[in-house]
Amino acid sequence: MSAITSPLFKDNARAALADRQLQRALSEVPLALAARRGAARAGLPEFEALREIGRDIKNHTLAHLDLYLEEFERKATAAGSTVHFAPTAEDARQIIADICRSAGARVVTKGKSMISEEIGLNACLEAAGVEVAETDLGEYLIQLRGETPSHIIAPAIHLTQDQVEADFRRLHTGLAADRQLVEPSQLVAEARQILRSRFLAADVGITGANFLIAETGSSVIVTNEGNGDLTQSLPKVHIVLASIEKMVPTLEDVSTLVRLLARSATGQEISTYTTFSTGPRRAGDPDGPQACHVVILDNGRSELLGTEFREVLRCIRCGACMNHCPVYTAIGGHAYGWVYPGPIGSVLTPALIGVRKAGHLPNASTFCGRCEEVCPMKIPLPGLMRHWREEEFAAGGTPLTYRLGLAVWAAAAKRPRLYHALVRILMPVLATLGRRAGVFRRLPVARGWTRHRDFAAPQGRTFQAQWAEHKAGVPR
């Protein structure tokens, strides 16, 4: 597993806000993705109705997940695939390392897979002496730097073009010093050339899966680059790594989800390539892998099925929640400290690594609700974050000052007379003190707030008092 820095979220966030390079990278791309999603949604009048259907498809599948997995296994096996079940990350690593070993693999190409990050696959394969080549351009860029993805669909969203050029000049030995790398197209051409040689050298290709289809035993990948297709078509062995919740019943069901996925992710009508793979090459096929393995990972997900967090298993990993999140767009993905950033990460990460380590994440939300508004699967992300806050509080993870503050507030709020008496005294005092500026630049008990923004001064009278007057017919 990649190193977990979620417990240091506050420090991470502070550093991210001060990182000018990162702020420059974050200033455009997430907003552009969000704007394109809006346009794509406007272009398909049935979009909102499709979200409801998509949610229902996933709910139905999750409620019958054991049976659909068995059906998938039966159909995939009949098509010539070997299906492996991996209860834990360690199981999945071992299964994949064994397949690579028996294939005598020296070079492995990989399509983009967040689950492979979750289980720390690359480190495991490299320790076994295998060269691992990430082929999604963004994944390749961060692999060069020894970094992890900072966005689930745009893993190198935190990098600027200048950084990419500097990395290529530093690490692509054999690159002539006078070679022009000014335009993005020149950088892409350079990466294409390097990676084409890896595609042709690979013994095993590993891809993730956006969906698994029970009807036909197929796995589905969605890309714009075509890297996943070269990864799975050229080597002699193809390994699909998928988690249990990628299951969908039929090709019709996938069609609905495909209509939602790219529009929510990048604002495209559909991604350039959507590939449905079913087993190894057939008799007479001149290309395609000779063997195909599907590794189905649980890693704690089955434990969510009986809880309110089941809803998070509907996620189709489009990234819309992070593109629309005021927290993510301010600090980027790395600050979240593990594999899954943004609102979906704030809900999923505590489930996978524990709320003790990831407690800051569900707290880092203004509950503005945009994530839930744009989620194609209608996952109630703010509500689920609130659940985590409760669990964290119950587990004693909430800091003492916070608990004390809550206790004082709760003591007053539970006694309406006392509460009203207190605010009737406090409001006019604050109103008088803050009258000149209209805001407080500093408040002794709320320094955490006023360090970054002003606190609006109250107007003088409480809502309750105004409401009582309104009801009594007193003119304002």
């Binding site: 049976l67 079940f85 351009l137 019709e252 609905t256 559909i270 350039t272 390539y273 649980d298 099925l305």
Partner: protein, 223 residues
């Protein structure tokens, strides 16, 4: 729990435990029914247009996705259209093809300079199993006729679509695949292709030709 069977049982058992569900006949029947009779759900209006509009959609979406779109009257115009496209793009008159009988029977004598080969080449030529109007998407079925690598290895990919295989939405395309390969069956790969390969991973700027073809040319045959 290290045997494959043990791991399988463990995952399935934990899912049943989490769901509080058992292996009941009623649950099995519901799943069997859904798989036996796959049902189209909400098909958008744009996927239900008449033939003329479908042609217009295919062109509009493909061109919007940076593909070249050419319409020809009949199959024997294809070789000339291929030759003209290659010359206009300054590409060698040599294409890589599979064993597709429709493509091999075209009137290639009208383009005597155009070579067809099976090796590695800059230009691939294949025939779509179907095309979907709703997003300008080609549906490629892999096999000896149209090898999957033809869609990804060449720098330029030319795809022939017969108008009879142009459908409105994805669901109709699946019906075509089922009619050809059988129910609950698929070729090794079905590739939905909706434009040339692209990436926006460097500074969010769109560049064509990330790993797959830099150019996609679609030739629609009217009859």
């Amino acid at each position: 729990m290290t045997t494959p069977a043990g791991r399988r049982e463990s995952v399935i058992a934990k899912i049943r435990l989490g769901l509080g569900a058992n292996d009941s006949a009623a649950r099995r029947a519901e799943v069997a029914e859904r798989l036996a009779r796959p049902t189209a759900q909400l098909v958008p209006e744009r996927a239900k247009q008449p033939a003329d509009e479908r042609r217009r959609q295919l062109r509009t979406y493909l061109e919007g996705q940076s593909a070249t779109f050419i319409e020809v009257e009949n199959a024997n115009d294809v070789p000339t259209a291929v030759g003209r496209y290659l010359r206009s793009a300054n590409l060698p008159l040599r294409v890589r093809v599979g064993d597709d009988p429709y493509l091999s029977q075209l009137a290639w004598q009208s383009e005597p300079a155009l070579e067809r080969a099976h090796g590695d080449d800059e230009v691939g030529l294949s025939r779509a199993a179907a095309a979907v109007a709703e997003t300008g998407t080609l549906v490629m079925a892999s096999g000896a006729d149209n090898p999957v690598t033809l869609n990804y290895l060449p720098e330029t990919h030319i795809v022939v679509v017969e108008e009879g295989s142009l459908v409105g939405g994805y669901e109709e395309a699946w019906e075509r695949i089922r009619a050809r390969f059988g129910r609950r069956a698929m070729p090794r790969t079905v590739n939905f292709v909706s434009g040339p390969s692209r990436t926006a991973d460097i500074g969010g700027q769109l560049v064509m030709g990330a790993h797959g073809p830099r150019r996609l040319c679609v030739i629609l045959v009217r009859s």
